[in-house]
Symmetry: C2
Subunit: 247 residues, 2 copies
């Protein structure tokens, strides 16, 4: 299942995240400038991409796989603060040390840009700056939605919310048809889910079992989750049935 570097097409034009990533709005000339400062890196599931506090001399887009941003307290309590799916952006222009641990949750390929030249490009290329602003605003919305989940939802609702988010992200990818039954690939261990949801892994497991018992989800192996009725899932998540907000 590992994606080797050799199999990655180096050409932006054929890139799988071409029209969703930070480069989405670039014209071909701008893409050329990006090609000059970019390089790919791949990581195996479980590997740490960057440690919080480390010097970080690149920013990057997730090309394939899943990564997580997590914060850790001295006594070991951990909270995931970002779930990075393909096309998501990592790193902050204008800052040279990482604020969070970045960990590959699955095998991962990232398209990295050397930071200094990228910062220059941001300043000179409104297409990139604008897209970056838009993506940052989206992330801020996602973070705020997550604050509601963390602060006010029950364990069951938290699990349902996480599944709902993955369903929604998935749907916007293979986009279009709003099917009522959906099968998703769950790229997180119970522990990662607990880190995301501010729960213990035992509670996550218990609530997954409960949702299964109640027919909200069907587990197909460890990684596949079938959602027979997406609206039902949304109800369980405590969201409006209209499934989240329009931009």
């Amino acid at each position: 299942m590992t994606v080797s570097l050799a199999s990655i097409n180096q050409d932006c034009v054929d890139c799988p995240i071409r029209h969703r990533a930070v480069c989405a709005r670039c014209d071909s000339e701008e893409l050329e400038r990006l090609e000059e400062i970019k390089y790919y890196r791949s990581f195996e599931a479980g590997q740490t991409v960057v440690w919080s506090g480390d010097k970080m001399d690149f920013v990057a887009s997730v090309v394939s796989g899943v990564a997580s941003l997590t914060q850790t307290m001295e006594d070991g309590r951990r909270q995931m603060v970002g779930l990075l799916l393909p096309s998501d952006f990592v790193g902050r222009p204008g800052r040279d040390h990482a604020h969070y641990d970045v960990v590959a949750t699955t095998d991962l390929v990232m398209c990295c840009f050397r930071k200094r030249p990228f910062e220059r490009l941001v300043d000179e290329t409104p297409h990139i700056a604008g897209r970056l602003l838009q993506m940052t605003l989206d992330e801020l919305d996602a973070a705020r939605e997550w604050m509601l989940v963390l602060g006010r939802k029950t364990a069951r609702e938290k699990i349902a919310s996480l599944l709902a988010i993955i369903v929604r992200r998935d749907a916007s990818l293979h986009f279009g048809e709003a099917k009522s039954e959906v099968t998703i690939d769950l790229p997180l261990t119970r522990e990662a889910m607990s880190d995301y949801l501010g729960l213990t892994l035992e509670t996550v497991s218990r609530q997954m079992s409960a949702l299964k018992r109640d027919g909200v989800i069907v587990l197909d192996g460890k990684r596949k989750v079938v959602v027979p009725d997406v609206d039902r899932l949304m109800e369980e998540a405590g969201d409006d049935s209209d499934g989240g907000v329009l931009s």
Copy 2:
């Protein structure tokens, strides 16, 4: 205590948030363009500035006072997702409906910009676009720090974290000297604090009492909080003693 509109200087050059707000980097010509599309609005404590879902034809900076962004579930559970202090920005260019309730927590003055012209300015003025990106990234960091608070901290740590944040914001304003004793003005009711922290107001009250009993804070009336030892507060918050992160 109400700030009347008349007392607000309409001239950007003398604006109290001139070098921290979205207009921080603007030159005098750019300020002139902003002056053309700006107007002030003031609100009394408790008033709602915008309802979630409403059409919003402006964006704005908080000039004085405090406002909050909150999300509400159908059954009434509420989570504050943003605390807006002077110089903070409200509204999202490129979106015309509000995603959150915006409520004046204290008497409030906002510097509003008509949305369409402002969006045009963002596109045409790198000084504004860049500053907006920077501010959005800062807000994202704040939101992520808050996710750790909501997901993993105890009630006592949550309270201490909130006080620490206000202390830190205050310090960066009257900036410079890192005093060990600080007095802060607490602009939130117990209920607002509970909305922010994902607690009940009873728990907030109990933990405030506990922190007072233990000498971490001294209450001076209802609105003033004396922190005799800021480092002690930081410890109680569970943060590294080095008081948060460098840019």
